[in-house]
């Protein structure tokens, strides 16, 4: 065998190994999600079986039917939870992204006193685990009378997300050359127009990814929500999962079914937005 054909064979073998490795990695990542979907479709006996039953023997949508059947028939107020989750997540995401854009832009474009300390301070807030805040927040919210309200949770989530959105969006604005905003101003734009016409569209992918992250954080958050909400009027889907636990039993199948209901919107949103996450949009702006 000559050198060339052995090199070719080696390259092909490497390709196969690469694909197998990739498949295993993807399997590891996807398996828990897949397991939840399967578990929501089969009886509890099978879920709890040891050794595990890999292939479900019978498939039923009972858990989903029951979920929407109303109180007393094994159902939970899933529509209300869903609505709460949606209102809280969307509102706090919109606010966090708006603040993040303003803040990120300021950090990327302006020089001001104490800039790096403020930035560091913002980042340090991320080191505090959310659960550590739940008790102080609980007392504070009770005093303020905003416990168990949409507003209370939105406030907490905005505070949680703002440092992150600022940090992420700052990075994306930094990548937009300063010259472009200046060129736009010379072309007749005000500072404000230059931002919306030129800088905003170019930082768009970054802002979209910040929005996804902020939304998913709110959508999946459990620790704070479980402390700050207690009734159907404010409980979110992750907190709703607890409805499936009774004193002595846990309805794993129902819980998995609700988890699937939670995953679907998040997955859909991510799928829609990820198309806009194409990088390299600024290529060709400056230099040759």
């Amino acid at each position: 065998m000559d050198e060339n054909s052995s090199a070719r064979l080696k390259r092909r073998l490497l390709g196969v190994v690469y694909r197998i490795g990739l498949f295993l990695a993807m399997l590891t990542i996807c398996l828990p999600g897949l397991w939840i979907v399967i578990s929501s479709l089969r009886p509890t006996v099978e879920i709890m079986a040891k050794p595990p039953v890999w292939i479900p023997q019978e498939i039923s949508f009972d858990a989903y039917v029951a979920m929407f059947s109303g109180i007393g028939k094994g159902g939970i107020p899933v529509i209300e939870y869903f609505r709460n989750s949606l209102i809280i997540s969307v509102t706090s995401t919109v606010i966090a992204v708006a603040i993040g854009m303003a803040g990120g832009y300021a950090f990327a474009r302006y020089r001001f006193r104490g800039k790096s300390s403020v930035f560091l301070g913002l980042m340090l807030t991320r080191t505090v685990p959310g659960i550590a805040l739940s008790l102080p927040l609980f007392f504070l919210y009770v005093r303020l009378g905003i416990i168990d309200t949409h507003f209370g949770l939105i406030l907490a989530y905005v505070a949680l997300n703002v440092p992150f959105t600022i940090w992420l969006i700052d990075g994306f604005f930094r990548q937009v050359p300063k010259d472009l905003a200046e060129a736009a101003q010379i072309d007749g734009c005000t500072r404000w127009q230059a931002f919306w016409q030129v800088e905003f569209p170019l930082a768009g992918p970054g802002i979209a990814s910040a929005a996804i992250f902020a939304f998913l954080t709110c959508w999946n958050e459990f620790a704070l929500a479980s402390q700050l909400t207690r009734s159907v009027s404010a409980k979110t889907l992750p907190v709703g999962l607890l409805d499936y636990t009774a004193e002595f039993t846990i309805d794993w199948r129902g819980m998995c079914a609700l988890a699937v209901v939670m995953i679907i919107p998040a997955l859909t949103l991510t799928y829609i937005v990820q198309k806009h996450l194409v990088g390299g949009l600024t290529s060709g702006a400056v230099k040759g």
């Binding site: 101003q185 010379i186 072309d187 030129v198 949009l281």
Partner: protein, 365 residues
């Protein structure tokens, strides 16, 4: 079309002054080049005229109107950036029409003006492309097109050619010159390349450390540099400059070598004065191989050893040793020379320059 006047224009960042109260009057339709080494304040000056940089003191007038505190959009200027600064999310057509869109121009008017500009610059076939699909030269042209479309009073160019390769730069230089002839606007052109400045400008402003060293036509700054800095900056290869002391009508160099004092400076110096003697490569040549310009009486003959030769085809740059360092001379109709060989050199003293060693200003009266 407009005049531009800078009066005591100053820029400070905190306590550091970058531009020190410069004065400059630019005539209508004049092509002015601001030239100088990096950090001399030329780009800052341009950005102040554009309104991208606040001025710390002094004033700027465009077309007789003081524009000190006006935002860039109210100054009716357009600017071509070194980086081109094309909007990457817009096509060439949209890039060209952007300023008109912002100004709320009618669609037909916009199309007509974009078509005019693209015809001038040969962009017709590229209108639907994005900047990322263009070559460096094409991007440069789009950037210029964007400036033309606005029909501004003043064009500002900030080192527009420095990102292009040498061949394209020469080509675009010619295009800019043609463009100026066509659009007849006032142009302020910043460059660090003295060849660009010499070839394009009606007048050149040479800046250094935030001060204007000299303002003059290309011919003036070349033939009558006001300072030692201008003498060394303008011209390629640069002028040979050497310090000397005046002693009884002669210049005595550090190595002890002597040259006669050029006649035109005799009245302005006295024995003991420290001076800088300057001679362009064109004015020192192997005898019989140069452009003789002055009177024969002013040509000084001296025999010097050759260190290096650089043949360029039609001419050869000959480096000769004088005063312990190399002097570059230009040899026309070259004949082969060997390093180490001693040749008779002609120094055209009528073309010589003399500057005061301490202040650097010319001793020409």
């Amino acid at each position: 079309m407009a005049t531009v006047s800078l009066t005591k224009l100053t820029k400070r960042y905190g306590n550091i002054e970058i531009v020190h109260g410069i004065d400059l009057d630019i005539a209508d339709r004049e092509f002015i080049a601001l030239v100088g080494p990096s950090g001399c304040g030329k780009s800052t000056t341009l950005r102040m005229i554009a309104g991208l940089e606040e001025i710390s003191d002094g004033s700027i007038e465009i077309g007789g109107r003081v524009v000190n505190d006006l935002p860039p959009r109210s100054r009716n200027i357009s600017m071509v950036f070194q980086s081109y600064a094309l909007y990457p999310h817009m096509t060439v057509r949209e890039n060209l029409g952007f300023s008109l869109k912002i100004a709320g121009a009618a669609k037909e008017d916009m199309e007509r003006r974009v078509a005019e500009a693209s015809a001038i610059l040969g962009l017709d076939t590229l209108l639907d492309r994005r900047p990322s699909q263009l070559s460096g030269g094409q991007r440069q042209r789009v950037a210029m097109g964007r400036a033309i479309v606005r029909d501004p009073d003043v064009f500002l160019f900030d080192e527009p050619l420095s990102n292009l390769d040498a061949k394209l730069r020469t080509q675009m230089r010619t295009e800019i010159k043609k463009l100026h002839a066509k659009v007849q606007s006032t142009v302020i052109y910043v460059t660090h390349d003295q060849v660009e400045a010499m070839t394009l400008a009606d007048r050149i402003v040479i800046m250094r450390d935030g001060y204007i060293e000299q303002v003059g036509t290309p011919d003036e700054v070349f033939r009558r540099p006001a300072t030692r800095f201008v003498a060394g900056f303008i011209g390629s290869p640069p002028m040979n400059l050497h310090e000397a002391t005046i002693d009884d009508g002669q210049m005595v160099f550090a190595s002890g070598e002597k040259l006669p004092l050029p006649g035109q400076f005799k009245a302005n110096v006295a024995t003991g004065d420290k001076v800088v003697f300057g001679l362009r490569p064109d004015d020192i040549y192997p005898t019989g191989h140069g452009i003789s310009s002055g009177g024969a009486a002013d040509v000084h003959q001296i025999e010097l050893p050759i260190t290096v030769t650089e043949p360029l085809g039609n001419e050869t740059l000959v480096f000769v040793e004088f005063n312990g360092s190399d002097w570059v001379s230009r040899m026309l109709n070259p004949r082969p020379l060997r390093p180490g060989e001693r040749v008779a050199m002609s120094l055209d003293m009528s073309q010589a320059h003399l500057f005061a060693a301490d202040t650097g200003t010319t001793l020409r009266s």
